[in-house]
Symmetry: C2
Subunit: 243 residues, 2 copies
DNA sequence: ACAAAAGTGTTACCGCTACACCCATGA
DNA sequence: TCATGGGTGTAGCGGTAACACTTTTGT
């Protein structure tokens, strides 16, 4: 690489690929996990479903920023948990040119996640992970990788909360664990409410709010919140956070 | 993006950044962890130490392939454990131009890892992680991220083996866990040999070879190997692999 | 014989699993 | 009053942590 005194720029002799970000956005509807997909308005893969994402721009501060920007173009996301998943860089991922993609996975509160009319007249829609349509590019692989990562993560870090409102009930949280980990029917230790509640409360980072949810034809469940500080404390002293 | 009928090519209207891979290569010398660094022969950061890596080429099959290629240019790596770490994409990481880097972390058997005279008259050298020199670019951040990842990984996956010969002794393996996790002096459960051996053997995927190491002025330790099949079996049935 | 490091077993405690009945609420 | 779903305690078992002495080997 040489510095050109005239243009005051480095002239790169290196190959420059196109770079995109894609986000696997998970939402929970009380029963199962869902993924947010966008219907493509242009070739290639026109009309097929794909992950929200797009090409990185020179003024994106980072790949993460790019992913946020792309998401914001379709939704009103404000509070969102997002983590880098993996880079997808195989040849022929994209028929147009070599494209390197940094994939992210995100957890959002599905109901707060209002889908706006995107540019390109793109349509966004939630699909249950157990009923995905045909997908553009290698996005099926990306989603599978994200699901695998999600299963690993939820074992050791309290990320289930990000799929729920700030205040949530224990059965809601339990359902998330069941939906993600999908333990066998006879797995008492995960499926039993008593065991779940005890284990979760013993971790020490969720707290009762004192409130309850009313309006249902049955006993009103208590509301809890996640205590970030308590979590950081537990983490610092090397507490076992495995679920 | 438009298809040009004349040139038969897609013409990309999108920005294309430079893309590199860097590898944080860890080796173990019996006492502590070491990282492989390269002394830069060119500006920027001439003469400073940096992670082995370089620009991706159009004919690299993937980012991982690129990282392997770059490593092979300096060493005779054959068997290596390598995992994607993270993408580093902030502006101004590189004074020349915007460079996106996919970082990997790798575990190798330090003594087998013979450092060759690289191109660019680059010098490669092992440094203990607790005594790193000043580093080029944001490579200090990258190494810290890799260390953090290593600590997380070794809790839940048997990757310590990759730092040792195919046949290894229990005390060697124990030392690796101690070096990586660095538990307090009074942490019996991790530092006690008896507990370590029992826990490790109970996991079921390391086996005695029947051999011993001789030549030391003390009792000869037994040699063990990692049983990949047994590990896959344990993993499949959802066995708890936490250490 | 001595120094250095490796091998090994037991006990007490804690935490987890399994398990079933009652309670609150709205219709 | 009925249907629905939420809340709660305990006992037995299993696994883990704490703990020290003996064995091997080379010098």
């Amino acid at each position: 690489m040489k510095y050109n005194e005239q243009t005051k720029q480095w002239e790169s002799p290196y190959w420059h690929p196109a770079l995109t970000t894609d986000a696997v956005v998970f939402g929970f509807d009380g029963v199962g996990l869902n993924v947010l997909l966008i219907q493509r308005g242009l070739e290639p893969y026109e009309h097929m479903w794909a992950l929200p994402g797009g090409f990185m721009r020179e003024d994106d501060k980072s790949a993460r920023d790019c992913a946020y920007r792309e998401l914001n173009e379709e939704t009103n996301v404000n509070d969102i948990f997002m983590e880098e998943l993996q880079c997808f860089s195989d040849k022929d991922r994209d028929p147009r040119e070599r494209v390197i993609t940094i994939a992210f996975f995100a957890l959002v509160v599905k109901d707060k996640y209002q889908i706006m009319g995107g540019d390109d007249a793109r349509v966004a829609k939630w699909f249950p992970v157990k009923g995905l349509p045909a997908l553009a590019f290698d996005h099926k692989d990306i989603i599978e990788t994200a699901l695998e990562r999600l299963r690993q993560r939820i074992h050791f870090e309290p990320i289930g909360f990000h799929l729920l409102d700030k205040e949530f009930t224990m059965p809601q949280l339990h359902n998330i664990y069941i939906a993600i980990l999908d333990p066998p029917e006879d797995d008492t230790k995960l499926r039993d409410r008593r065991n779940f509640n005890k284990k979760m409360l013993k971790l020490g980072y969720i707290k009762e709010t004192g409130k309850k949810v009313t309006g249902n034809p049955h006993r009103s469940p208590k509301l809890y919140t996640f205590d970030e500080e308590a979590y950081q404390r537990a983490k610092k002293i090397g507490m076992r956070l495995e679920f």
